[in-house]
């Protein structure tokens, strides 16, 4: 499944090979910070957890990079892989999937597996925005549900990093919508068994992802500046014809409006999540 973790061939879909993966941050180039404009050498950026060296801006992370920050190869046991089909025979969808697979090296947008964070065992999920906007189709929904079911069976906490900018995956139509119910119910079963779910909202967490499992954490964290909301800002603006308030739908805005528990900078995320897990053991 993941190139960074080649050790588990049974579950690991290692196609395409690392060379063919499109890199968000090619090693020998520079990237300009969206926030302060500083040019940063990509190797420096990587060393700094993809935080701007000047302003702390949180660059978007691929799922596998996120995973590498949270846990180690030897500790990650991925769930059996699933592949998307085209239930509505939606034109162009299979090509879109194939392209995303080639670009990311992932089967679909969700990385799910059993691991330990800071020594505390848990089920860890990461929704990768770079796979069709991190949208939730049948595969992502099923993976999440299986993650919660596995956690329920083994009485483990669940940690999900949601970067689902598109929310539902339109190309799977009603099947995609139903993943909202399916995942919310999986959280519900797990929660009603007294188990912990930490939901971490990374940039961006919107639509059907936000309006289902991601909102149902016992503790909801967010990375600084992450876009969090139900309707996209453009739709809100077009519908209401009002100017959007400064910082609308940012993590900071969500915090002020009582929707999330805390904003945690990426540099402190592992410790923070690790502490919560430890206190709930």
């Amino acid at each position: 499944m993941l190139n960074v973790f080649k050790g588990r061939p049974k579950y690991a879909t290692v196609r395409p090979q690392e060379g063919s993966e499109r890199k968000d941050f090619p090693d020998n180039l520079w990237t300009r910070c969206d926030s302060c404009g500083r040019m940063i050498f990509n190797k420096e950026l990587e060393k700094n957890a993809f935080l701007c060296l000047d302003c702390g801006h949180h660059f978007r992370l691929t799922g596998r990079k996120r995973l590498a920050m949270l846990t180690e190869e030897k500790d990650f046991e991925a769930l059996p892989p699933l592949l998307a089909v085209n239930p509505l025979a939606f034109p162009g969808y299979p090509e879109k999937i194939r392209q995303a697979q080639e670009q990311t090296g992932l089967d679909d947008a969700a990385i799910m597996g059993k691991t330990a964070v800071k020594g505390s065992p848990c089920i860890l999920g990461i929704i990768d925005f770079s796979f069709i906007g991190g949208s939730m189709g049948s595969v992502v929904g099923e993976q999440l549900v299986r993650g919660f079911e596995r956690a329920l069976k083994e009485r483990l906490p669940v940690v999900i990093f949601s970067g689902g900018g598109g929310g539902a995956r339109m190309h799977e139509g009603i099947f995609s919508l139903m993943q909202m119910a399916k995942t919310a119910q999986a959280v519900g079963r797990h929660s009603r068994a007294g188990l912990l779910f930490i939901s971490v909202l990374t940039h961006p967490t919107m639509g059907g992802v936000y309006a289902s499992f991601a909102s149902l954490g016992d503790v909801i964290l967010a990375e600084p500046g992450a876009l969090i909301g139900f309707a996209g800002p453009r739709i809100v603006q077009e519908t209401t014809r009002q100017e959007l308030p400064t910082g609308f739908q940012t993590a900071e805005y969500a915090l002020a409006h009582g929707m999330i528990d805390a904003i945690v900078p990426r540099s402190k995320m592992v410790d923070y999540v690790g502490r919560l897990l430890l206190w709930h053991r």
Binding site: R15, A168, Q179
Partner: protein
């Protein structure tokens, strides 16, 4: 009443027949055979037209301004509706109505989004687009129903949750998520009926039923055809094409196992005969309520969860297998 483009051939024919009848009333010859022949032909034409509606034509029917709204249906289906208001936190959202009513003598909780029937009401009801407090009111009433073991009927007709600044501030996504989650585990029978539009999470927040029924000219989709067309082609006027792709009609959804049954409407749509539509829904409600009320509540909840657990199409293979 507003006529649809596709109705025009049959409407024109019916007009001719009416003229002819008027003409022959004063004549001495007997045209009754011809007229009844024409009438049969018109009926056949009407039936053909309505059996071959495109998905987007159905979407248009679902939005007909004279189509019964939730309060109309409540009037048609229940006795002594007693509306209960408020989320006990922030506001009473007029875009969702709910309360107690009798269904053929049985006290039930009924909830549904409410579109306005005129401009003034549309403003009060925010054009039927709920805010988070509408969903919170709905959840409050559902929990009340659970406490008293009362069946819940949700009547769904909503293009989507309101995409507004304050709605976002007050947690539209969170409210929907909580509704979906809590509704899933309610220990009381739930019958959901999509009567008109079933748009995205805003509809699903009321749609986690033990049985989900759908009117013939209703639609249910992850996204509205217009929005889908905008995303695909940056052109919302191509909504008709998008509607084809989304497979949002009752026929498709029944096939997919998303809904349990389709409630037939009067030929030409529910707006043509409210009373008849109400009778149709009543008979489906009677049957499905009787079924789910017989199921012990533990099993009911398990089956409800299992119903949604099953939904999703994927392959168990991995890229490595290909």
């Amino acid at each position: 009443m507003q006529a649809f483009e596709w109705e025009k051939p049959v409407l024109a024919l019916e007009e001719r027949i009416a003229e002819l009848k008027q003409f022959v009333d004063g004549a001495e010859m007997d045209f009754s055979a011809e007229i009844s022949h024409l009438q049969r032909k018109a009926a056949k034409l009407r039936k053909e037209i309505y059996e071959n509606l495109t998905p987007f034509q159905r979407v248009t029917m679902a939005r007909h301004p004279k189509r019964p709204t939730t309060l109309d249906y409540i009037n048609l289906l229940f006795d002594e509706f007693t509306e209960l208001h408020g989320d006990r936190t922030f506001r009473d959202d007029g875009a969702i109505v709910g309360g107690l009513a009798l269904f053929e003598g049985l006290p039930v909780t009924v909830i549904g989004p409410q579109k306005g029937r005129d401009t003034k009401e549309n403003i009060a009801r925010n054009f039927g687009l709920p805010h988070p407090e509408g969903y919170r009111k709905s959840l409050r009433l559902m929990k009340q129903a659970e406490k008293f073991g009362r069946p819940i009927i949700t009547l769904i007709d909503v293009v989507g949750a309101f995409p507004g600044i304050e709605a976002e501030e007050r947690g539209q996504g969170m409210a929907i998520a909580q509704c979906i989650e809590e509704m899933s585990f309610l220990r009381t029978p739930i019958l959901s009926i999509i009567t008109g539009e079933g748009g995205s999470g805003g509809a699903l927040a009321l749609g986690v039923g033990d049985r989900v029924l759908m009117l013939e000219n209703a639609w249910y989709s992850v996204i509205s055809p217009e929005m889908c067309a905008t995303i695909l082609w940056r052109d919302s006027s191509r909504a008709a094409e998008a509607a084809e792709l989304l497979r949002l009609t009752p026929t498709d959804l029944l096939k997919f196992g998303i809904i349990d049954d389709v409630i037939t409407e009067p030929l030409g749509g529910a707006h043509r005969d409210h009373a008849f539509t109400g009778m149709q829904i009543r008979s489906f409600m009677r049957r499905y309520l009787a079924t789910i009320m017989k199921i012990p509540v533990d099993r009911l909840v398990e089956e409800r969860l299992a119903r949604f657990r099953r939904i999703g199409k994927f392959s168990e293979r991995s890229l490595a297998d290909l």
